[in-house]
Amino acid sequence: MFLALREMRHSKLRYALMAAILILVSFLVLFVTGLAKGLSYANASSVVNMPADAFLLSADAEHRLARSELAAPQAERIRELAGEGKSEALGVRMAAVEVDGAGKADAAVLAVDPEGWLAPPVVEGAALAPGDTGKALADAQLKAAGARIGGVLTDTASGRSWEIVGFAQDESLSHTPALFVSPAEWAELARPVRGGAASGGGEPAGSAPYNAIALQGDAQRLEAIAAELPDTALLSKRQVIEAIPGYSAEQGSLSMMIAFLYVISAFVLAVFFYVMTLQKLGQFGILKAIGAGTGYLARSVAGQVLLLAAASLAASLLLIAGFRAVLPASLPFRLDEMTLLATCGLFLATSAAGSLVSIVKVARADALEAIGRTTA
């Protein structure tokens, strides 16, 4: 690092300009990554937050929750195969609701057992009970549409009304806030509307078809269950999330941007150091002539690249931290430590890759150049 540091000290402006470009690019990488994660979470947080190892959907649903339908006997059979507490039925239906008979809002109605492991944590108000009908637990985002505890949401399609008993946080599907209802309410919803005679008699709760069964357990056991049921498909959580309409397209374009940013940063670094190296070939020749090994010189170049990349990354991390503090809440932005570490690591790796051409050039620099030449 003796050479690397002294050269940077001597050509401050040159390296500062390069660092400025790297700061901008790495800031953009971090920002878009955070945005992608934020959008991903805003899109599918309800599924992301489910502590399920896998989902069983009907085989013809093409991984789509909304298209899948598992009839009551099938659901019952899965429950038996999976064992006590290892499966949870999930009902999904997109709805438009009227808030207190006034404004309208979109909601994703999710039917889960309020006492099972799919039930979301309640952050405000009370939880549902399994037998509750006419009641719902809403995602806090619905507050923006006027929802409040004790308020009433009316489903425009079925005409059913739900009193809000409480709120959950970070629960959405397809960018739509979730509305949790009990299995009893799900059965009511599924019942064909018969002249307004809603209650009394009829099928018992839980007999309505569900969209999916969430499962817990090791992979082998889950596959054994799926093998017993030919009409079903066993999907990972990731597969289910990726099949949410719009999810892949949204993430795809953001991933594309991120990938390009990595390529750009590697390329900018590569070109900058390559040009610098070309200018300095004579010097490398001299250094080799007086006894510096290729390894030493290569380490010096790589050291400069990594130092520059790491310093720029540190600066853009500070920028991101400042940016986060002033970010409006409506902008979905999420950057957990794991993602942050992975992003920084990848950025440093692409930077190192960008220095390779220069290192090859340095390795080829000829010590002979030093003798019999008039200029360095």
Binding site: F2, L3, R6, E7, R9, H10, S11, Q283, I286, L287, K288, A289, I290, G291, A292, G293, T294, Y296, A367, L368, A370, I371, G372, R373, T374, T375, A376
Partner: protein, 228 residues
């Protein structure tokens, strides 16, 4: 000449360059021995192969045939790493234009080669200070090469060449970019060092004024060295 104490030995060196299709033999059975405390001048017309000879003597270029021994050690069969180590420890180079590293201060030019050779920090600092003082650069230790005059640059290069206590010092036209008094200064210093420390020196030059500082003058002609 003391044959048993030869620091630099070239024995039957041949070297040819292929220029397009035809092969041109530049060095043809060249032999030379330089003993302790001896400073040898090598002259010859342009293109006679002086720089090629110096590159071979300096372990920068391996000859097609013949053997080079530096401080008794034969170079044949050494890999690039060991050759670099040898250049670092046993050889000192002074090039035509000083060839200092532009972003290192004068003192750091010396510290770099000391570091490369693994010299302890304190020893390196003391030695560089002493060398620069002796070469009249004591006040210019913290200057960048761009701020030095031609003579100062060349003296800094000499100091760098002496830094690791080489057995053999090789100079290619060290006075070419200097005026007469400066050139004489540089040669006087080279001569004094070679004598004082019993080292071997070879100076390739076109400059008539250099010859008087040397013990022997040889002419490179038809691929061999002959007394002038």
């Amino acid at each position: 000449m003391n044959r048993t104490k030869a620091k630099l030995v070239l024995d039957g060196i041949t070297h040819a360059f292929t220029d397009g299709e035809k092969e041109r033999t530049i060095l043809d059975g060249l032999s030379l021995e330089v003993g302790e405390g001896e400073l040898v001048a090598v002259t010859g017309p342009s293109g006679s192969g002086k720089s090629t000879f110096l590159s071979i003597a300096g372990a920068l270029l391996s000859p097609d045939g013949g053997e080079v021994r530096i401080d008794g050690q034969p170079l044949s069969g050494m890999d690039a790493m060991r050759l670099a180590q040898l250049r670092l420890g046993k050889l000192g180079f002074i090039f035509q234009s000083a060839n200092l590293i532009p972003y290192l201060k004068v003192e750091e030019q010396l510290l770099l080669v000391a570091r490369l050779a693994g010299m302890p920090r304190a020893e390196a600092a003391a030695r560089s200070r002493e060398l620069l003082e002796r070469l009249g650069l004591g006040g210019r230790r913290k200057a960048y090469p761009e701020r030095l005059s031609g003579g100062e640059k060349q003296r800094a290069a000499i100091a760098r060449a002496w830094m690791n206590g080489p057995e053999v010092i090789l100079a290619d036209e060290p006075t070419a970019s200097l005026d007469a008094p400066r050139g004489a200064d540089v040669m006087e210093m080279l001569r004094a060092e070679v004598k004082a420390r019993s080292k071997a020196g070879v100076v390739v030059t076109h400059d008539e004024r250099v010859l008087s500082f040397c013990d022997r003058v040889l002419v490179l002609d038809a691929g061999r060295l002959k007394p002038a």
